[in-house]
């Protein structure tokens, strides 16, 4: 008996593609997807490291050598830039991580967490540049906060001469990063919670006498940390290499390394491309080193944590921690809300004397006068974001559908590939990617621009859509197939409509990511394309706040609108079907 059964041949593949043609194309989607976003990054890194060692024939660099690195190290701004980069990037990551973890630990299973979760989408939708500009509008000496308490509390009748933004320690940049990155980490922690039976772990811990916060830290955090490790590294990499926020908020003498490198790349003096490339290489090394150090920190924390867990300390009721965490999160949310309000008010402000808390006159002139720029930049932003998120959606759905039809298993290693564009600093490969774009004739074209955005849109769309797609009850698929529907019909008529909410949500995420892009537009757009983001950042270097307000407000509102549509459309369709109207 046993021998005969051992010889069983596998059952014929039930999922054999019915439409050979569509199955044929589908099979190549994963390779196409990987090629589309890994090739530019690989080419970009090579194309940046070669000039870093002096090789760039187009500019006369024919021989390999260390001259660019020597020039970089000899530059007086570099040590300060590196210090600033490390200080603000690591501090921002540690603070965001502590806040997000503290918030979930303190509020697990409470209504407060539900509230926090519900308000997450608008927080995530806010583009980095708009968040930075809005923050500057709030905390600058001539900003809204100062105006609200002046002159009655401060006695100021003119803006005080203190560096509240562009401060030499990069604290305002750090604050802006915390405001932006904490909600992202929160989202990732909440997603991981769903897959770790956290409620049961908490029930066990509580019944053994552990307080809620200590219980969470001891039983849930160790379980979910592996799942949030990559997002944490992405936050670390981003905080160490952000450019658009730094242009608005960081000091300029010296700026953070990424900004310094970006300036050299843009300098009319072409000889500076070589030290710039070396600087981009240094940027990559800094990020890699920081991630390695964080990894070491994890090991240390795990060792100390094990001892702490074995010690059996139960912890208190967690009331105070809960209050503190809620307050901190509310402060972040309020900050984001005020940011948006400040941008909106400045965009319609007429006369606004210091230190009045509100404008003396309101006007739409700021908008009317810049209508041309708004239409052009807005149109580019919109068309690129729609194209990039649509392309990402098609590729991601193709990959996921192919994975299901072939019965493939997902690998953790594939996730690392997906995270590559989020871990490699943009400034460390975009110069090389631009070289590739020139080769392909895509430099400064709309298609090239869409492609460059796709690199960053795609991972987020994939990460947003993969879980809902994979967890769709496959018995629906089987039922539909048994009713005579082929794989293609099942995809269009069953899977897609049932997943319409996550699909639209993923599209909105992709849209928001594209709208927020700054460096890819500057590099690959070749200066020929202005988006709301590049306009807002450029203007923030010294234009009238009213004009900055117009562009930054629009930039902030576009993703919000996309999220609103993504949430409203399925809800409406649902309501329409739910209303009981028996047909006559």
């Amino acid at each position: 008996m046993a021998e005969t059964v051992q010889q069983l041949r596998p059952a014929p593949r039930p999922a054999a593609p019915a439409g050979a043609a569509s199955g044929g194309i589908l099979r190549h989607v994963p390779a196409l997807t990987l090629g589309l976003f890994l090739a530019p990054i690989a080419a970009g890194i090579v194309g940046t490291w070669l000039p870093a060692f002096g090789y760039l024939p187009a500019l006369g660099g024919e021989t390999l050598g260390l001259a660019p690195w020597r020039a970089l190290m000899a530059h007086p701004s570099v040590p300060g830039a590196v210090r600033l980069t490390l200080a603000s990037g690591i501090l921002a990551t540690v603070l965001s991580f502590a806040l997000a973890i503290g918030c979930v630990a303190a509020c697990h299973g409470t209504r407060a967490l539900t509230r926090i979760q519900r308000m997450l989408a608008p927080m995530l939708a806010m583009p980095h540049a708009a968040a930075a500009i809005g923050l500057a509008f709030l905390i600058a000496p001539s900003g809204w906060f100062a105006r609200m308490v002046s002159p009655w509390a401060t006695g100021w009748t003119t803006p005080p001469d203190v560096a509240l933004i562009n401060d030499p320690y990069g604290l305002s940049l750090t604050l802006a990063l915390v405001v932006k990155e904490t909600p992202y980490l929160l989202l990732m922690i909440l997603a991981a919670l769903g897959q770790s039976r956290a409620n049961e772990r908490m029930a066990v811990a509580r019944s053994l006498g552990y307080g809620p916060v200590v219980g969470w830290l001891k039983t849930v955090l160790p379980a979910i940390y592996p799942q949030i490790r990559l997002p944490v590294y992405a936050v670390l990499a981003f905080s160490l290499s952000v450019v658009d926020m730094a242009l608005v908020l960081a000091p300029s003498t010296p700026p953070p390394l990424a900004v310094l490198v970006y300036r050299w790349f843009n300098n009319p003096d072409l000889a500076l491309r070589f030290p710039a490339a070396a600087g981009a290489g240094l940027q990559l090394l800094l990020v890699a080193g920081a991630i390695a150090a964080w990894r070491g920190g994890e090991a240390l924390a795990a060792r100390l944590g094990r001892a702490w867990i074995a010690g059996g300390a139960r912890g208190g009721s967690g009331q105070r921690a809960r209050a503190a965490a809620s307050a901190a999160m509310m402060a972040l949310y309020a900050m984001t809300g005020l940011t948006l309000a400040a941008l909106a008010i400045w965009s319609v402000a007429g006369r606004w004397r210091y230190p009045d808390a509100m404008p003396g006159a309101w006007t739409l002139d700021n908008w009317a006068r810049h209508m041309d720029g708004i239409v052009w930049a807005g149109g580019t932003t919109l068309s690129v974001a729609v194209a990039a998120s649509a392309a990402a959606l098609v590729l991601v759905l193709g990959c996921l559908e192919n994975e299901q039809r072939q019965g493939l298993r997902t690998l953790t290693r594939a996730l690392w590939l997906l995270y590559t564009p989020l871990l490699v600093p943009q400034v460390a490969f975009l110069f090389g990617a631009q070289t590739l774009a020139v080769r392909l004739g895509l430099d400064g074209t709309w298609v090239g621009l869409v492609w460059s955005h796709l690199l960053f849109v795609l991972p987020y769309v994939f990460l947003t859509l993969a879980d809902p797609f994979r967890s769709l009850d496959e018995r629906y698929v089987r039922t539909a197939r048994c009713l005579g529907a082929g794989p293609a019909r099942v995809f269009w008529r069953v899977k897609l409509p049932m997943l319409i909410r996550p699909v639209l949500f993923a599209a909105a995420v992709g849209f928001a990511v594209s709208v927020a892009q700054y460096l890819p537009t500057q590099f690959v757009g070749g200066g020929r394309f202005a988006t709301l983001t590049t306009e807002a950042v450029t203007l923030s270097a010294g234009a009238d706040r009213r004009v900055i307000g117009v562009f930054a407000f629009l930039q902030a509102v576009l993703p919000l609108a996309a999220f609103a549509v993504a949430l409203a459309v399925p809800a409406r369709a649902r309501r329409a079907r739910r209303s009981p109207e028996p047909t006559p």
Binding site: V5, L8, A18, G407, R475, Y476, R481, L483, G484, P497
Partner: protein, 235 residues
């Protein structure tokens, strides 16, 4: 071929899970209009045997043997071309489609005429006593109504055999009796060979057909032995 021209037949079928034997070699023939019941404890692989018949076996399983429907070997066909209808514990009505659209989803595409399609859907609705529920969201229906729609959706696809994977187990007692009658009545009227998998003896009794215990040794007739569509008659 004896009486199996319009019937469902398993020849030398066996299943393994991760290489371990799950169901021993068995032969089984179900004649048109008859219900054969397969019983066994949960985890014995009875649902997997149905999955093998309708072609939805997951790659963790390996299967041997042939499935014949109306004398035709369907073992290698993609599942949507097998014309084997199946009902699960859950009704699995598509939540994004109205009741009528759920039914229309089952209707073969060969029925092209729109009026004819509408006529058949409405006939099915009338059959289920749900004439006024065409445009309703399935979520607004009661459990019994949903179960009836699920059966009629399956029948509209014009299957040549019906598989029942414990479709009564989630209904409460009174409803269960009525729905059971509804299903067997339709199976008989459509002359469908029907394979029922259950662990509830009451299901087997109501099916009033041969009942087998399945396991690693293949099939064993259940007590009290009934008049059998004897396994292996077609071999």
């Amino acid at each position: 071929m004896s009486g199996a021209e319009n019937g469902l037949e398993l020849r030398q079928a066996a299943l393994t899970l991760h290489g371990r034997p799950l169901i021993g070699t068995l032969d089984l023939a179900v004649r048109a209009g008859r219900v054969v019941t397969l019983m066994g404890p949960s985890g014995c692989g009875k649902s997997s045997l149905l999955a093998f018949v309708c072609g939805t076996l997951t790659p963790a399983f390996a299967a041997r043997g042939q499935v014949l429907l109306g004398g035709r070997d369907i073992t290698a066909l993609p599942l949507e071309r097998r014309r084997v209808g199946i009902l699960f514990q859950d009704d699995l009505l598509f939540p994004h489609l109205s009741v009528a659209d759920n039914l229309a989803f089952g209707l073969p595409r060969a029925v092209r005429d729109r009026a004819e399609r509408r006529r058949r859907v409405h006939a099915a609705l009338a059959e289920a006593d749900l004439d006024d529920f065409a445009d309703r969201d399935p979520a607004t229906l009661s459990g019994g109504q949903r179960a009836r729609v699920a059966l009629l959706r399956t029948l509209l696809a014009e299957p040549l055999a019906l598989l029942l994977d414990e479709p009564f187990s989630k209904l409460d007692a009174g409803l269960r009796d009525r729905f059971r009658g509804f299903v067997f009545e339709h199976a008989r009227r459509n002359a469908l060979p029907t394979l029922l998998v259950t662990h509830d003896p009451a299901d087997a009794a109501a099916a009033s057909g041969p009942t087998f215990e399945i396991g690693t040794e293949g099939l064993a007739p259940c007590t009290p032995p009934r008049r059998l569509d004897k396994p292996g008659t077609a071999a």
